[in-house]
């Protein structure tokens, strides 16, 4: 840590958002003042809208609505069946499955939720950290792909014992993600090139670069294969399962939790994090007070890319170990933006948002399988939650709540 700065005093956030996460009294006050209430109501509103969409497109509901005048009871029972079925499937997929025997089987959905949330948290931290320094990192996809390819290359290209091989692959992935995002930071610092353009473009460049490596023998393509896919990962780089072989939950979730802690410390307790936030609040003022803004851009993008890279590593070495492909990012790079927004770019917020979206993802798949409801309903609910949470006055107006006491 550099010594040319005074120890950062705990910085008060701008007036409308007075609570630092992690301060107990702050959290308590927030609940009392009703910001947490807004969050809960936002989720409720989003779920209501989601339910309406399910109802409007449900065949039974539409059929019974045709003779609602004659037999309204049919209509209402169709409505309640559609809703109960959908949400109980969601619950069974995300938290606790009452339909199978044995505690292990019943609790498995919860571990699936944690598994899905790990990459969302990691990538969300990467996007959120950049936000805090005033940078918009839309490049999650490219960073994840590059990281996955690098980790996969170390994985299949070397033959080492697990204690060396696994850490090496993880670090290689994180480094690749960091460098890929670092390009955007470097160009921003050097020439003022807009990071939104550069990260979007790097997504495409990274995609085709990895595609090329995957379709070239001797680079990443599985020997003798014609498909753009690498060999499966060997045992020595696969992230260990946390709860035994019956559960898919792997060490990636622990990595995500550690990352939350590290980023929290970085942002709230370190001089570097102070510089990030200072640049994010006002780059001109930061420059005037002696902060090297360009260097801060580069550092923050390197760290952000490393975090997003870990999400890619989590996929390739933990969740989808059958080999590197060009769609291994599974949209997480973009989901991460909503996670960061919902978590208000704060590490603990991102943790909570990642868990929520992980649950929706796990539940969404089960809802699609059991009820035939397209899994995209989850996207709708997710985006509505973020929208409503971002507009507390709207939510208050809808529920006729009093205005925020502190406003």
């Amino acid at each position: 840590m550099s010594t040319n700065e005074t120890e950062p005093a705990p910085v008060e956030e701008p007036a409308k958002d007075p609570q630092e996460p992690g301060r107990f009294d702050g959290v308590l006050r927030e609940i009392v003042m009703g910001n947490a209430m807004v969050a809960v109501l936002s989720v409720l509103l989003a779920v209501v809208v989601g339910s309406l969409m399910i109802l409007l497109t449900d065949e039974n509901v539409r059929d019974t609505a045709g003779y609602i005048g004659a037999r309204p009871s049919d209509f209402f029972s169709a409505v309640s069946t559609a809703i109960t079925d959908a949400y109980s499937a969601l619950f069974r997929g995300a938290i606790y499955n009452t339909n199978v025997e044995g505690f292990e089987g019943r609790i498995k959905p919860l571990t699936e939720t944690l598994k899905f949330s790990a990459p969302l948290i990691l990538a969300g931290l990467g996007v959120g950290l950049a936000f805090r320094a005033g940078l918009f990192n839309i490049g999650g996809r490219g960073q994840m792909l590059l990281a996955g390819a690098a980790a996969g290359w170390v994985g299949v290209g070397m033959d080492l014992p697990l204690v060396v091989h696994l850490p090496l692959a993880v670090v290689a992935g994180a480094l690749a993600g960091a460098l890929w995002a670092g390009i955007a930071g470097f160009l921003k610092a050097q020439s003022g090139a807009h990071e939104v353009i550069v990260t979007i473009m790097l997504n495409y460049v990274g995609y085709y670069l990895v595609f090329y490596a995957l379709s070239k023998q001797g680079l990443l393509q599985a020997p003798g294969s014609l498909n753009p896919k690498s060999e499966p990962m060997p045992e020595s780089v696969i992230l260990p399962r946390l709860l035994g072989d019956r559960f898919n939950l792997h060490l990636g979730f622990v990595i995500a939790l550690v990352a939350v802690g590290v980023v929290w410390w970085l942002l709230n307790r370190s001089a570097m994090g102070f510089r990030f936030r200072a640049v994010g609040e006002n780059p001109d003022a930061a420059r005037a007070s002696g902060i090297d803004v360009g260097r801060t851009y580069i550092t923050v993008m390197l760290i952000a890319g490393g975090l997003v890279g870990l999400a890619g590593v989590n996929q390739i070495l933990g969740t989808a170990t059958s080999g590197v492909t060009v769609d291994m990012d599974a949209g997480i790079g973009f989901d991460a933006i909503t996670v960061a927004l919902l978590g208000r770019s704060r590490p603990l917020g991102i943790l909570a948002a990642g868990l929520l979206f992980g649950a929706l993802k796990a539940g969404g798949f089960s809802m699609a399988a059991a009820e035939g409801i397209p899994v995209e309903i989850v996207l709708v609910i997710q985006s509505l939650i973020v929208l409503f949470i971002a507009a507390p006055p709207l939510v208050r107006a809808i529920f006729r709540l009093p205005k925020e006491a502190t406003a």
């Binding site: 497109t57 003022g192 595609f211 090329y212 936030r277 208000r344 397209p374 609910i381 509505l384 507009a391």
Partner: protein
């Protein structure tokens, strides 16, 4: 809500003085020099024997231009000499304290492209008309999207939701084009769908002061979710009744359409392309030459001042945003009312983000943004054409090219671009 997710649109951070600093000015000759070297390397290390033919004719011209056949290596060598001269001219200008003019860079780029094609297509024929005409067709949604983006941002509202507007437009066009039974119905529906997304954007960003970047990103996700959900639940079951619109036919313009090269490229297109020409001209004119445009720009640069002289800031932002939505929505119609009249999930494939890049690349100017969008269209089409011709470069690198060029251009030539001063800042009266 106040959030630390700061609006990432740049406030002119480096605050460069009006006179061009040497370091910035030097970028152009250095970049041109690098390109010259790269083209020279092509013949130095991987010279290709044979002749390259540039086919200039289309079938129905007044008269047919003969195809131009040139020896590959000699052409590239000539091109390298020309490029070296261009670099020298740029260096000379910079050494005299001037800036490299845009036309010089444009000519340089065209010459470099000819050299590259002569090398890549050695022994084969380059269909020049198809290459350029296809580029225009591919650029249509990007141009519409970029125009919508420029308008919104000039009024001070960052529009990241271009992708959502395109996708929702495409979706509405498919359904209403089918139900109404005419592509015109589809086009109107697409425009209204784009405006609807804009209205939601305005509702949250202008009325509720929500961070515009957040609303934009979230609206994109929302539209993807909504359209994919409805596609899976409704469209996929009744494709004939809901997802089979009539499409616009090509309309050759008499006389103009028969000029060699230019005619088939520009004037034998669908009505959407002609609407695009009109939209570019009208937006540029309206923004710079009308009272309304002056107000829009005032609201985007200094809302307080605008308010002081009696301009209704938020009302102006709303109307501008709605017009922008209509335009972007029309771009979405190109996906479902032209070549493949059918909606598919996430069919815009992030084109709205490319349009956003064109907005910034084009420095928030409608004409420059249009040119940037055309550049993207050209690069995409070029990679397609070359992969058909069987170029020696792996197809992935060809496909990568437009994006690499953009990064180089943004970092090297455009540099720190200045957004409208109040871009992304909600206006609270009082």
């Amino acid at each position: 809500m106040s959030t630390t997710a700061k609006v990432p649109v740049p406030i002119d951070e480096s605050a460069e003085p009006a006179a061009v600093p040497l370091r910035t000015a030097l970028k152009a000759p250095i970049l041109l020099g690098v390109v010259t070297m790269l083209v020279a390397l092509l013949i130095a290390f991987k010279a290709r024997a044979g002749k390259t033919t540039f086919r200039l004719a289309a079938d129905t011209d007044f008269f047919d231009l003969p195809a131009v056949t040139v020896p590959s290596t000699a052409t590239v060598a000539t091109v390298v000499v020309l490029l070296a001269l261009g670099t020298a001219a740029s260096a000379l200008l910079v050494s005299r304290g001037r800036r490299t003019p845009l036309w010089l860079i444009a000519i340089f780029a065209v010459v470099a492209m000819v050299g590259f094609l002569a090398w890549a297509a050695a022994g084969r024929t380059v269909p020049v008309v198809g290459l350029l005409g296809g580029s225009i067709a591919l650029a249509v949604p990007l141009v519409f999207g970029a125009l919508g983006g420029v308008l919104g941002e000039r009024a001070g509202v960052v529009n990241i939701a271009i992708d959502g507007q395109l996708l929702f437009g495409a979706f509405a066009a498919a359904i209403f084009g089918t139900v109404v039974g005419s592509p015109w119905g589809g086009l109107v529906a697409a425009m209204l769908a784009g405006a609807l997304v804009a209205l939601v954007l305005g509702f949250f960003a202008i009325t509720y002061f929500v961070d515009q970047v957040i609303v934009g990103v979230v609206l994109n996700v929302l539209v993807i979710g909504l359209t994919s959900f409805l596609f899976g639940q409704v469209l996929a079951e009744n494709p004939q009744e809901l997802n089979a619109p009539d499409h616009f036919e090509r309309i050759p313009i008499p006389v103009l359409g028969e000029i060699p090269v230019i005619g088939p490229v520009l004037f034998r297109q669908t009505i959407l392309v002609y609407l695009m020409y009109a939209a570019v001209v009208i937006v540029a004119w309206a923004l710079y030459r009308t009272k309304w445009g002056l107000r829009v720009r005032a609201v985007g640069e200094h809302p307080k001042a605008a308010d002081t002289v009696g301009i209704k800031v938020n009302r102006t932002r709303y109307t501008t945003l709605l017009i922008a939505g209509l335009i972007a929505g029309a771009g979405g119609a190109t996906y479902t009312l032209v070549s493949v009249p059918q909606f598919g999930e996430e069919m815009t494939d992030g084109a709205g983000y490319i349009a956003l890049a064109a907005v910034i690349f084009g420095r928030w100017d409608p004409v420059r943004a249009t040119l940037a969008a055309l550049l993207f269209g050209f690069a995409t089409n070029l990679s397609g054409v070359l992969s058909v011709l069987g170029s020696p470069v792996p197809s992935q690198f060809m496909l990568m090219l437009p994006y690499v060029v953009t990064i180089i251009a943004v970092a090297g030539l455009v540099g720190a671009s200045r957004a409208p001063a109040a871009d992304g800042v909600p206006y609270r009266k009082g």
